[in-house]
Structures are given as C-alpha cells and as structure tokens.
C-alpha cells in the first residue's frame, strides 16, 4: 500500500491559503444563513455579510485594556489562523499535498493542541475576568476532548498501518473508514467542534460571560481571531475527508473536486449540528469525555486492530 | 553541521535549565528548570541517534526520556497542589521544613 499523493512545491501554499479563505467565507455565510432563518429574515441577504463584517472590523479601532499583556494577546489572536494553515499543509487536496509527511496524522494532532495555547492566551492577554474565565473553561473542555480525539485519530492509522495521510487514503480504496469505524468518526467530530470552540464547545466564548475569551477583542484582532476560528473548523472538516471519507476518491469528477465537495459537506454538517446543540459546560463534559468517550475510543481502536490482524 | 555543535546547543539548554532549577524558589519554576534540562537531553539523544547509530534503540531512548518528563511533570503538579493545600505556600524553602 503506497502513498496516493504527490508532494507539490511550497509555492502552492498560497493556493492552499486561498482555499482556506474560501472555506472560511463559505462557513461564515452558511452560519449567517442559519442565524437569519431563526429571526425570520431572508437567508439570501447574508451572502455579502462576511464582507460587511470584515469592513466593520477593519474600520473599528483596536482597543486595549488596563495592563493588558499585549504581546501574548496578539499571539493568541493571530495563532488560530496560523494553526489552521499549518493543519492544511498535510491535508491532500485530491492528489496533491504540500507536505507528504511520515507522521502527518500526529502533525495534525500537534497543531490542534496549539489551539489550547492560543485560546488561553487570548483569554489571558486581555486582563479581564470574563475573558480569563473563558480561557479556563476552554482548557477544562480541552482536557476532556483531546484524549478521546487522539484515540479516534489512531483508528484510521491502525487500519492503514501508517501515520501518513496519503497511505491512509490509499487504504480506503475498498471501503471508506467512516463505514466500519463510525465511533471514531463521531469522536473525531466532537474533537473538531471542540478545538474550533464551536457549537456545544463554545462556552469559552459563551454569552453568560459576555463573549468569554474574545470579550475584549476589537477591530483587526477580532477579525483575525474569529476568522482563525472558522479556519480551524474548516481545516478539521477537511481532515475528516482523507481520514474517513476516502480522500479524493469518487466516480467521474477529478479527485480535487471530490475532496472539495466532501469537505464542504462535512463543514456544513458540523456548523448545522453545532447550532442545534446547547452548550456543554466543562464540569459536565469532562465526565462525559473521561468516562464515556475515552473507553469508546479505546474499544473502537481494539475492534479496528482485531479486524486488521485477522484479515 | 557536526555532532559537536548540536551537543553544544544541548549543553547550553541543560545549563540554563540547571540555573533555573537551583535558583528558583517556587516549585513550579523549579519544575520548569528541570524540564529545560531534559529538553537539552532530548536534543542530545536525537543528535546521537542521527550522527552515530541510526537504529531504533536511540529512538526508544528518546521516547523513554519524554515519558520520564511527563511523569515528572504530573507528579510535580500533584505535589505542588498537595504542598499548597497543606501549607498554603509553594516555596521549596518551606517544603524542606515539612520533613521535620
């Protein structure tokens, strides 16, 4: 089983960044449409909303707070977008990848751990109680979703007998992994929602603490942070495709189109599900993560390992 | 790039960590010094593997060092919490008084 992908020159990173930008725009529009529908407004009006929002935040001045740790604050704010871009480097776009890396799966995992640092730094840097509480909440949730996520990531790697993303795609030529390791996919989705602070895991940015970790962000800082949050969500959705949905495989259309179509489908599903669920409070979800999700992930890995060894 | 130069970086990291580990008063800061020393050891182990014996044994050694670091850290946090709970303080100087 060889790798199914070709490494392209680093110059294509610009194309990857543009694709991420497109996905972020799409995600923001789709989320805006769902939001407009609940207040009974036409969803069509939201098509340009991200443009307006960007203009608004570009026009808005950056604001500081008393004794803010501006350096750490800015690093945290910009870091989400950087983490999203770094994740994208190991995700094959159809047949092409920027970085055909031995341990691509672990690379992705390491990049989503960066989000831990970023959210906490954003919460800390503003020197505001609500924001800091948001940072604490995220770390508590992170401890609960990250370990199950790791077990979920291992399942496709066991089945493909490799940590290389291209090889994992190649191993799915017969059957997509989502079919016979559904729990791994579910836990992976929980993890993606978790590290993008989305939907049920948004309590770090919750309404009860006036926007939480992001409460003190304004202007460009806010724009970059929230774009980065969509970016991490989009990168997570894009990574589900090579891991569970056979990468770019599909009839008729070229591989890159299949990859994009599947990514958009997973992304919209995540956004939709995220809006339907209430917030998970850390004190509740920690127990779920440790008592239910970790054993579920281990059992899933065990089943996958048994299937692979008995083939 | 030679083995000696990489080892010098590792030695520098180790020495800085040593300075922190013996000069700091707060338990958590001492732990950070120890971590930095182990950081140097990781780099040295990686360099030995690459320059001298590219066989899996060296990598296993590295993995063991990383595992040792996590154990050190977890126990350090637990002990810091315990000392803090008992004494309301986290200074190493105070912890030495505990043994009496």
């Amino acid at each position: 089983m060889g790798s199914a992908v070709i490494e392209v020159t680093p110059g294509w990173a610009i194309a990857a960044a543009a694709m991420l930008g497109g996905l972020v725009y799409l995600a923001a529009v789709f989320n805006g449409m769902l939001a407009s529908r609940t207040v009974g407004r036409s969803p069509v009006a939201t098509l340009l909303r991200p443009v307006y929002e960007t203009a608004r935040l570009l026009r808005q001045r950056r604001r500081s707070t008393v004794a803010a740790d501006a350096l750490l604050w800015r690093i945290g704010g910009a870091g989400m977008l950087v983490a999203a871009l770094l994740k994208l480097t190991v995700i094959p776009f159809g047949h092409w990848t920027l970085f055909d890396f031995d341990a691509g799966l672990v690379w992705f995992n390491a990049m989503d751990v960066l989000v831990w640092a970023m959210i906490w730094l954003v919460g800390w840097g503003g020197n505001s109680a609500h924001a800091l509480v948001g940072g604490y909440r995220f770390l508590a949730l992170a401890v609960a979703y990250e370990l199950p996520l790791m077990f979920a990531l291992i399942a496709p790697a066991i089945a493909a007998e490799s940590l290389n993303v291209g090889t994992i795609i190649a191993a799915q030529s017969g059957l997509w992994f989502v079919v016979w390791m559904p729990f791994a996919f579910l836990i992976f989705s929980v993890g993606v929602l978790g590290f993008s602070v989305w939907g049920p895991f948004a309590s770090a940015l919750g309404p009860d603490i006036a926007g939480g970790a992001g409460a003190e962000l304004s202007g460009v800082d806010r724009l970059v942070f929230f774009a980065g949050r969509y970016g991490v969500l989009a990168a997570g959705a894009a990574f589900a495709v090579p891991l569970f949905f056979g990468g770019g495989s599909g009839p008729m259309l070229p591989a890159w189109m299949w990859f994009l179509a599947k990514t958009v489908l997973v992304l919209t599903a995540l956004i939709w599900v995220g809006r339907k669920l209430p917030l998970f409070r850390p004190d509740q979800f920690m127990e779920v993560g440790w008592v239910l999700l970790i054993p579920a992930g281990i059992l899933q890995d065990l089943v996958v390992a048994l299937v692979v060894t008995n083939q | 790039m030679t083995l000696e130069l990489v080892l010098l970086i590792a030695a520098a990291l180790f020495s800085v960590g040593l300075y922190g580990a013996i000069s700091q008063q707060v338990v958590v800061m001492v732990m950070m010094g120890l971590e930095l020393m182990l950081n140097g050891v990781i780099l040295a182990a990686g360099a030995f593997w690459w320059f001298l014996s590219p066989e899996p044994t060296g990598q296993v050694l590295l993995l063991v060092i990383i595992a040792a670091m996590t154990v050190e850290m977890a126990m350090g946090f637990a002990v810091a919490t315990l000392v803090h709970r008992v004494r309301g303080s986290d200074m190493t100087d105070n912890a030495t008084e505990l043994k009496g």
């Binding site: 509740q284 239910l292 | 000696e4 520098a12 020495s15 800061m29 001298l52 590295l62 595992a67």
Partner: protein, 189 residues
C-alpha cells in the same frame, strides 16, 4: 543536509536557547511558561530535522499541552497577578549562575575533547515504522514498563492532589446512589 537546512537548524537552536533563558528572565509567569513552550517547539523541530519525525512532533504536541496546563498552575499558586507583577523569586542567584556556567564549560570541554566516532549515515527506510517495530518487538520491555508507570502516575497524581475521596462523595458506607458533589457531572458517576 543542505545549507538552508543548516541555517534553519541553527536558527531553531538559537531560539531554543534564548527562549529557554527567557524563562528565568521575563517577569511575567504567563510569558515564562510560554517561553518554555517555544523552547520545546524549537527543539521538537530540530529533532524533526534530524529525521525523527514522530518523536519531534510528539515533543511539540506534549509540551504545548503541558505548558498550557502549567500556565494555569503558575497563576493558581503564585498569589498575585503575574501579568502585572514583576517577579524575582530567586535565592543564591550568583552561586546558581556560576554553577550553571561551570557546568556548561565542563560539558563543552567534554564535547569538544571527546573523539566521537564517525557515525553511519541515517537510514533510508521509514524511521517511524522502525520505531514502532522496535517498540512492539525487540524493545517491547520499554513499553511494558512505561505503560504501568504512566497508569500509576495518573492514579498517584490524582490521589495526591484530591481533597474529596469516594467516602465524601458516596457516604461512609459508599451506599449513596448519587454522588454528593458541589456541582453534578455529566454522567452521574
């Protein structure tokens, strides 16, 4: 390794040492913790460049996680607002500094004076696979020892730092059906 590779490698080395020194230099605990995280990331990338992909990434992954948690501990236990408060909590600064310098000089002398054998070139085959096969084959003992140590660490760490045990939660005879917690968890254990 190419020239650019060499330069990048040294750059990471400089970042690792300088941010390591910054840990004890900066006067904010959050900054100190994340300076250490940067030092680890730089060393992780160096290990990555030394062809040990898996281990390099693992160093980055674990240490960023650890430092994120560490920062919270720093702030919990320091009794003041660390972003604002310059801190100096050292004893025997001069002695420590001289010990550190002497150590470095000794190590450096050892490194430079030792006649290192000229090593074999790095292997061409998949290093990560080799590590995995070693761990599950000839070096299995290491894994067999590490696993229980890790589990023991989790148990010991939790029981050392815990205030309320199961007798507080489920009553003296452990008969209480629902745990008596300040706030209930999500599963009901």
């Amino acid at each position: 390794m190419t020239l650019i590779g060499d330069i990048v490698f040294w750059l990471f080395g400089a970042v690792a040492v300088l941010s390591g020194a910054a840990v004890f230099w900066v006067n904010s605990m959050a900054r100190a913790t994340y300076a250490l995280a940067i030092s680890f990331v730089a060393v992780g990338l160096q290990v990555l460049m030394l062809d040990q992909a898996y281990l390099g990434i693992i160093v980055i992954l674990m240490m960023v996680m650890e430092m994120a948690v560490m920062a919270v501990y720093m702030i919990m236990f320091m009794g003041m607002n660390p972003a604002l408060m310059p801190m100096s909590m050292v004893h025997d600064k001069r002695l420590s500094l001289s010990i550190a310098i002497v150590t470095f000089v000794l190590l450096a002398a050892g490194i430079l004076l030792t006649a290192w054998p000229s090593g074999s070139p790095p292997p061409a085959e998949d290093v990560t696979v080799a590590l995995g096969e070693a761990l599950m084959g000839s070096k299995m003992l290491a894994m067999v020892v590490l696993s229980p140590v890790m589990v023991a660490t989790i148990v010991a760490g939790v029981s050392l730092s815990l205030n309320r045990g199961r007798y507080d939660r489920y009553g003296e005879d452990l008969r209480r059906r629902n745990a008596d917690d300040p706030q209930p968890g999500g599963v009901g254990r």
